[in-house]
């Protein structure tokens, strides 16, 4: 059984489905709306951000630019994009169970592991394409509407990254964001193996993410101690690409932890799936 052929047909199944395009449509609608609103507001966000700073420093350049609005939009990677990813990732196994097509696949002479792997790769590919689409729309439209310029990054201190560095840094940020979304996709994929309806995995994934984010944001010592054990604590790794200097070691350790979560989630899914009685 050719893995490539199975993978090709999994991609066809996913990308011929209307559900797959909900995420793309949401991004195609929301990003222009947000960017138009920012344009109409006339840069008050940046003005608020650098208030006081411009009294001590002479800030020269267009800070209200395409990179800046893209950075604002990237904050949707915490909750909104994971939701859109879980729509498709959560449907990969549960949707087939609901539709009765899982038994159509699993009575064939291809191993369950192979079928599962093809589905998982398709899920990861979808996460990548969705994040790439977000990058394309937000950067493309952002640069067209607001022009280029240096990026002002608010953190503990202000970092200003020159425009010349921003193409590769933004590419790196979106690349890291894709990897983070693999973790979300893997979790939704795991939930998808547990149930036989496509809503359950979406609710399950979002519940886990929102609970982890809430607990992480509450300044209680007990919760602070728990924070390193939540995968959501590492989903901000894309922001590291916009720090100066780039903390490569932190990025590496974050990626390793996210990667370990992906492998862990997938391994549990595999164990459940190969043992599962198909009763749908």
């Amino acid at each position: 059984m050719s893995m490539f052929s199975i993978l090709k047909h999994e991609l066809i199944k996913t990308y011929f489905k209307w559900r797959t395009y909900i995420g793309f449509i949401a991004i195609a609608v929301l990003v222009p709306v947000v960017q138009t609103a920012l344009k109409l507001e006339g840069g008050s966000v940046v003005k608020r951000m650098i208030r006081g700073l411009d009294q001590d420093f002479m800030l020269v350049g267009n800070f209200f630019n395409g990179y800046f609005v893209t950075q604002l939009i990237m904050n949707s990677l915490w909750v909104h994009v994971p939701f859109l990813i879980s729509l498709v990732a959560g449907d990969q196994l549960a949707g087939e169970a609901t539709g009765g097509t899982l038994r159509l696949l699993l009575i064939r002479p291809a191993s369950r592991s192979k079928i599962l792997f093809a589905k998982y790769i398709t899920t990861l590919f979808y996460a990548c394409t969705l994040v790439s689409f977000l990058a394309l729309v937000s950067l493309g439209l952002g640069l067209a509407l607001f022009g280029s310029g240096p990026l002002i990054v608010p953190s503990k201190t202000f970092t200003i990254i020159p425009a010349s560095e921003l193409i590769w840094r933004m590419s790196l940020a979106f690349g890291l964001a894709s990897f983070c979304m693999w973790c979300v996709a893997s979790l939704a994929f795991l939930f998808s193996s547990l149930v036989e309806n496509a809503i359950g995995p979406i609710i399950g994934t979002m519940t886990v993410i929102i609970i982890f984010l809430i607990i992480s944001s509450i300044p209680i010592d007990l919760f602070k101690d728990l924070r390193p054990y939540f995968f959501t604590s590492y989903l901000n790794v894309w922001q590291k690409a916009l720090e100066d200097p780039i903390p490569w070691e932190t990025i590496q350790s974050h990626l390793a932890i996210i990667g370990a979560h992906c492998i862990g989630f997938y391994s549990i899914t595999w164990y459940i799936f190969v043992k599962k009685d198909i009763l749908s």
Binding site: M1, S5, G100, R103, L105, I107, R108, P109, A110
Partner: protein
């Protein structure tokens, strides 16, 4: 295992919590035959079929296909098997052709011609490029049979393939199954809750009830063997009763609501009818019912869809 046995189960069982859905099921299917697997709804037919196709793991016993144990030779043996489990479900948003291409990829990839051959066999070639969601139930069921036939398997396992079809559709499916056996020497394992369907299609049969195999054998032998109860409406009834009682082949006689109920071998029904007519008795109804049929009706009590 003799080479002509393509499917054999040994003490096959499946337990869900404390309930055995299938228990100690041992059956054999020979090459080239149409094996009817008969049982009322909830008897364990679908669970058995799911175990035969490795969708469900047995709690007890095992399955052998082509002389090889299914669990440890899953891919090798399933490459020689086609199946349809319960409803024919497909990717509704894709065409029939695309659906079959997806299935074909899991069988190692089949040519376009192979896909078109099965579509033609079930009469769907003209509409192969239409989305499955536009298909009627009957067309989906035929597509279900087409996918089972992909790659020309040696054994096809069909779970109630005529469910929901109109009489013409049922006739077509039955003829198709019989043709596969006679023209292509394909072995068919066919489940149904309709005795008439098995009688018309299968060469061998097994009856399952409450998860246990009740009987197994050749259809003709099982249906024609043993005694039957013949219900006779005749006039005058007293004269008919006397005549019937005198016959040596009659094993029992009762009268209920003006109907004679005669327990006798099925082969002597014609003789009895001749004797009654020759004696000048007006026979307005003579209905033989085989003991197996009676038995099956008794276990399917409450199931009204018996044709």
């Amino acid at each position: 295992m003799p080479p002509d046995i393509v499917l054999r189960t040994y003490n096959l069982g499946k337990r869900y919590k404390n309930r055995w859905a299938v228990k100690a099921l041992s059956l054999e299917v020979q090459r080239g035959e149409v094996f009817g697997f008969l049982g009322p709804n909830g008897a364990g037919k679908s669970t058995t079929i799911r175990m035969l196709l490795s969708l469900v793991s047995p709690s007890d016993g095992h399955v052998e296909l082509f002389g090889k144990e299914l669990h440890s030779n899953r891919c090798a043996v399933l490459s020689r098997v086609g199946g349809l489990v319960e409803r024919a479900d497909f990717y509704q948003y894709l065409s029939a052709r695309r659906n079959l291409e997806i299935i074909s990829s899991l069988k190692g990839g089949l040519s376009r011609t192979a896909i078109e051959r099965v579509l033609e066999l079930v009469g769907l070639l003209q509409r192969a490029d239409e989305k499955v969601k536009t298909y009627s139930h009957g067309m989906k069921q035929r597509l279900g049979i087409a996918q089972a036939l992909l790659g020309e398997p040696e054994l096809i396992i069909l779970d109630e393939p005529t469910t929901g079809l109109d009489p013409q559709g049922i006739k077509e499916v039955r003829e198709l199954i019989k043709g596969l056996s006679t023209e292509r020497s394909m072995t068919t394992f066919l489940s149904s809750h309709l005795l008439s369907e098995i009688e018309q299609t299968a060469t061998s049969m097994g009856i399952i009830n409450m998860g246990e195999l009740v009987i197994q054998g050749k259809v003709k032998e099982l249906l024609d063997s043993g005694e039957s109860t013949v219900k006779i409406v005749a006039s005058p009834i007293m004269k008919a009763q006397e005549l019937v009682r005198q016959q040596k082949f009659v094993k029992g006689l009762a009268v209920s609501n003006g109907v004679l109920e005669v327990n006798m071998p099925l082969g002597d029904v014609g003789t009895l009818n001749t004797l009654l007519v020759q004696a000048g008795i007006d026979v307005s109804s003579l209905v033989p019912r085989r003991s197996l049929e009676d038995y099956f009706l008794s276990i399917t009590e409450g199931v009204t869809d018996i044709r």
